[in-house]
Every structure is written in C-alpha cells, then in structure tokens.
C-alpha cells in the first residue's frame, strides 16, 4: 500500500557547514524502493544533520537532494507528503492524549479513517494508553507513539533518527518488524543509529559518516 507512486531519493555531493564545522563533506546517499540504509558514525559525525537535509529541513551549501529526478525544492509540499521524519524529539504534544496526538499531528497529512488510530496503537503496543496524556507516558512509550505517527503517515520514505532509543527488547523487535513490513510493501527506510539495525529479511546497506 505504501509503495503507491514510489520514487527513490538521491542526495549527491552534499556539503554543509555548521558555523566553523564542516559537517557533511561531499556525501552521497541514495535509496530506492525496498532499500534499508543504515547511517553509521560516531557522535557528532552528522547523522542527524544528514537526515534533516534529506527531510528538507536544512539546505546544504552545495549538492542537493532530488526526488523524481527533480530537486526537492521544486515541489516541497509534495515531497514532504511522501516522507516521514522521526527526529530526536518525538514531536508529541505533552498535553494531548496518545489518541489526540495522532489525530492532530497525523491528521494534518491525510484524512484518517475510523479504526486507523486504534489499529496502529495496538501495533506499537500502546492500546492501553490510548487516553493517557503524552506527558505521563514513559520515554520508551513516547518513542513508540512517535513511531505510530510514522506508520500512520503512510509515507513511502522513512527517515528515522535513533529510532531504537529508549525501547525495550520487545520494542526493538516490534520496530524491526514494522520496518520490515514497510520495506516489503516497497517503501524505503534510512535509519541513523549506533547499533546496526537488524531488519528480518532486509540486510541494511551501511553508509559511513566520518
């Protein structure tokens, strides 16, 4: 279902400075349907920066990200609708319940159907926390809820920044299964993490950031 109208993305010769630091030095990444790319590197090597560039939140000084053979700036909103970004922060409103968070934050992207939210909450193991305010959830539960938002977006390209942080063994397995399902359906995932992600049936291609 996610594969609908899928086009890969590619980033070429990215150069990016943050103040005095040359963070991205001529980096190239690409991902096509069914690809799982693992962005690896020590702390401060620019994994988050690269994901933000790929998401279109940051503009590199040189090089660029293209999608459907065009620079993403050509159709910013159209591109944003095909990606889903899980950042450092979970992007949840502490005052909203788990259900409201998904209804508002995901509802901006697409019309949700009845049962969509309950289904995805059960999938990430938060069925019992439906009416709980996000502020009262544990860090791991918030990460699961943020992941639920990614799933619910039905985007074809997932950009995940340290998605395994704070997850228990059960959660890691759940997430790996979710990503595998996404890749099986023809989506792509770019995952920045310290541990290589183990996605059943999908060996990750490693991109090293120095």
């Amino acid at each position: 279902m996610q594969a609908h109208g899928f086009h890969g993305i590619s980033a070429r010769d990215l150069q990016l400075w943050r103040g005095e630091r040359h963070v991205l030095r001529g980096l190239s990444v690409e991902a096509a349907s069914g690809d799982c790319v693992h962005l690896a590197g020590p702390n401060g090597s620019g994994k988050t920066t690269l994901l933000r560039v790929l998401a279109g939140l940051l503009t590199p000084e040189e090089g660029g990200v293209s999608w459907r053979g065009q620079p993403i700036a050509a159709d910013r909103d159209g591109y944003a609708a095909t990606i889903s970004y899980l950042g450092h922060s979970d992007g949840l409103k502490p005052d909203f319940t788990a259900c409201e968070n998904l209804a508002f934050e995901c509802g901006l992207r697409r019309r949700l159907e009845a049962g969509d939210i309950d289904r995805v909450l059960a999938q990430v193991g938060l069925a019992g926390a439906r009416e709980q305010a996000a502020r009262s959830l544990s860090a791991g539960q918030r990460r699961r809820l943020a992941m639920a938002r990614v799933i619910l977006s039905r985007a074809s390209i997932w950009l995940l920044d340290e998605p395994f942080t704070n997850l228990d063994a059960d959660g890691v397995q759940m997430l790996a299964g979710v990503v595998a399902g996404h890749l099986d359906a023809g989506g792509a995932a770019l995952i920045a993490s310290h541990q290589p992600p183990v996605i059943p049936g999908h060996p990750a291609r490693r991109v090293e950031l120095a």
Partner: protein, 227 residues
C-alpha cells in the same frame, strides 16, 4: 493516499491550537488580566473625573491592548518549536503559510477576542459614552487582528533566540504604530460625537493587507528558525 485539503488542514490546526489554549487557560488569561489591570489603574492614578479620563480613553485603551497582545505573542510558536511538533508541521505537506494563518487565527481567538469582549466594560470605566462603545469594540477587534498577524512574523523570527521577547517587541511595535494612531483616533472621534468610519476603514484595510501578506513572511521565517 487521500491527502487532506489545505482548507480542512487549516481547520484542524485551528481546533488543535484552541484545544491547547484551553488546557493552558492561565497563559490565555494573562493578556486580558493585564489589559483590565492597566485600564483600571488609570482612573486611580490620574483622576476620578470622568471628563478628564474621557479625553485620554482612546489612547489608554489602545496602548493597554497593544502591550497586552504583545504578552501572548511569544508563546505562539515556542511550545511547538520545543517539543518538535513544529518540524512535523513543516513536513506535513500542507502549505505552511496557510497553517501559519490558522495558528494566527487561533491565537487571536484565544488572546485577542477576550480583550475585545471586555473592552466595553473598561471603556465605560474610563467615561466613554455609550454611543462610542461600538467604535471601541470595532477598532480593537481590527487592531488586535493586525497585531496577531504582524506579531506572528516577529514570533517566528525570534523563535530560536533564548531571550527573544525583547527583540520581539522591538520588531513588532514599530510596525504596529499606524494601527495605534488610527485606532486611538477612531475612539477619540467617536467620543466627541464625530463619525469614526474614516479611521475604522483604514484599520480594516490594514487588517486585510497584513492578513494576506504576513502569513507568507511568517512561513519563510519559520523555515529559517527551524534549521
């Protein structure tokens, strides 16, 4: 994949921000309490003589409303920036300028509208005759709308700064001067029994101008601040 139309996304954004405002009603009540306090201090500090107060009423109401509206502006995007929902908003695939417009409208409903609603009461306490009350309400309704639209640009620009509130006032207040001049003048004219439609129409055209153009500037500023 059924994309949501921009109009219904705006409506959703408006509902979301109002719901959040109601859960933080103390923050919402701040501007209206400030407005009521300042306007009631004037009779105490100056003179209880209604004739004297009446001469100053237009200016007092407008300055108090301007500063009160400025109080709430800082929070327009701050929480969304801090918890990461602003990033998700930028990546929602919806036109950012329209989402910014919806957020501005919600902000006005939560902080500008209460001010407009209590203004007749405050005006009466300053000796404004009943015949001029409609002008008070109209001029403040238009004025707070202009401020919400202009202030959104300032709030978006100062988002990444640690002590942005000072800079925010410096950015927004000069832009709001024309509105202040014509708004206070409208009330003054109405108090003296003259027709105030001239300055009111000018205010209305300023509102149209800011509501059309400010969201575009706000959207551009948000993209810069989110980097």
């Amino acid at each position: 994949m059924p994309r949501r139309t921009a109009a219904s996304a705006m409506l959703l954004m408006y509902r979301r921000d109002l719901l959040l405002a109601f859960r933080h009603w103390d923050q919402v009540a701040q501007p209206v309490v400030f407005f009521a306090m300042v306007t009631t201090l004037f009779p105490l500090a100056l003179s209880p003589e209604l004739g004297e107060l009446r001469e100053l009423a237009g200016g007092v109401l407008w300055v108090a409303a301007l500063l009160a509206a400025l109080l709430g502006l800082e929070f327009l995007f701050r929480a969304d920036h801090a918890d990461g929902t602003l990033e998700q908003m930028l990546l929602s695939g919806q036109p950012l300028a329209l989402l910014a417009l919806a957020k501005g409208a919600a902000h006005w409903t939560a902080s500008g509208l209460p001010l407009v609603l209590v203004s007749p009461l405050m005006a009466v306490s300053l000796g404004v005759p009943a015949a001029a009350l409609l002008t008070v309400v109209l001029s403040l309704a238009l004025g707070t709308g202009i401020l919400s639209a202009l202030g959104a640009i300032g709030a978006a620009l100062t988002l990444g700064l640690r002590r942005g509130s000072m800079l925010l006032s410096l950015l927004v207040l000069p832009l709001a001067m024309p509105a202040l001049i014509f708004g206070a003048r409208a009330i003054d004219m109405a108090i003296h029994g003259e027709a105030a439609s001239g300055p009111l129409l000018l205010l209305a055209s300023m509102l149209v101008l800011t509501v059309t153009l400010a969201p575009l500037a706000t959207a551009a500023a948000l993209r810069i601040s989110a980097e």
